[in-house]
Amino acid sequence: MNTIEIQTEPFDIAAIMAELRADNPAIGAVVTFVGLMRDMNEGDRVSTMTLEHYPGMTEKALQAIVEEADRRWDLMGIRVVHRVGELLPLDPIVMVAVASTHRGAAFQACEFVIDYLKTRAPFWKKERTPEGERWVDARHGDSAAEQRWNKGQ
C-alpha cells in the first residue's frame, strides 16, 4: 500500500518509517530521501520559501509516479510527503520512503520517485532573498536526472 500526502505541517520522519514497516518482517530494506530547505541558492541568501501547488493534479501526478515505480520494481510500500506553504531554512520539504525485500530495488525506486517528482509534479518554489522575491527556475539537471530512467526502456 502506497500513500501520498500534501501538507503544510512538518512531518515526522521516524513515525513515517515506523508506519511503513508496520511490523512486516518481510521488509529487508527501507530507503529514505529527505529534501531540505537550504539558506543559499544561485549564490544568494534565502530567508524564506513559499511552495505553491496545483491541488488535485499534484496528487494525480504523484500517484502515477508511485504506480510506475511499483511496475518497475518489486516493492513493499512507498510513502511520499510533500510540504506546501511557507518554509524556512533547515525545514524538511519532501520525503520519499520505499520499502522492499532487498536494498537494490529500494534504492533505485526511491531515486526514481524523487527524480520524477521534480520534473512531473506541479509544485513551484518562490524564494525571498535580500533583493526581494523570485520564482525558482527549473534546472536542466533535473530533466537529465529524469531522462536517465528512460534509457533502454
Binding site: M57, H82, I114, T119, A121, F123, W124, K125, D137, A138
Partner: protein, 84 residues
C-alpha cells in the same frame, strides 16, 4: 464553459488564478484557447508568446496544443515545475 487555471509565475504575471471561458466553435483544443488568450494583447500576448515555456494540462493531465477541449473541462497553464 471551460475553467482555465493559472499557477505560479504565470498567475502573478496575468494577475488572475482562474477564469471561465465559453467553450465553443473557437476553443476546440488547447492551442485554440491559447490563441484566444493571446488575442487580449499586453501581458497575455507576452506570457504565451514565443520563447515562453508554458506547460498545459487538461483535467489535471499534462496536455499539448492539440489536446481537445470540451464543455466542463479544466484547462491549466503553468511554468516548468520546481518542487522536491
Amino acid at each position: 464553459m471551460i475553467e482555465v487555471l493559472f499557477f505560479a509565475r504565470l498567475r502573478e504575471q496575468l494577475g488572475t488564478a482562474k477564469e471561465r471561458l465559453q467553450a465553443g466553435s473557437e476553443a476546440t483544443d488547447v492551442g485554440a484557447v491559447i490563441k484566444l488568450l493571446q488575442r487580449r494583447g499586453g501581458v497575455w500576448e507576452e506570457a504565451f508568446g514565443d520563447g515562453q515555456t508554458v506547460i498545459m494540462a487538461v483535467n489535471q493531465e499534462v496536455a499539448s496544443a492539440s489536446t481537445p477541449v470540451k464543455d466542463g473541462d479544466e484547462v491549466a497553464f503553468f511554468p516548468p515545475v520546481t518542487g522536491g
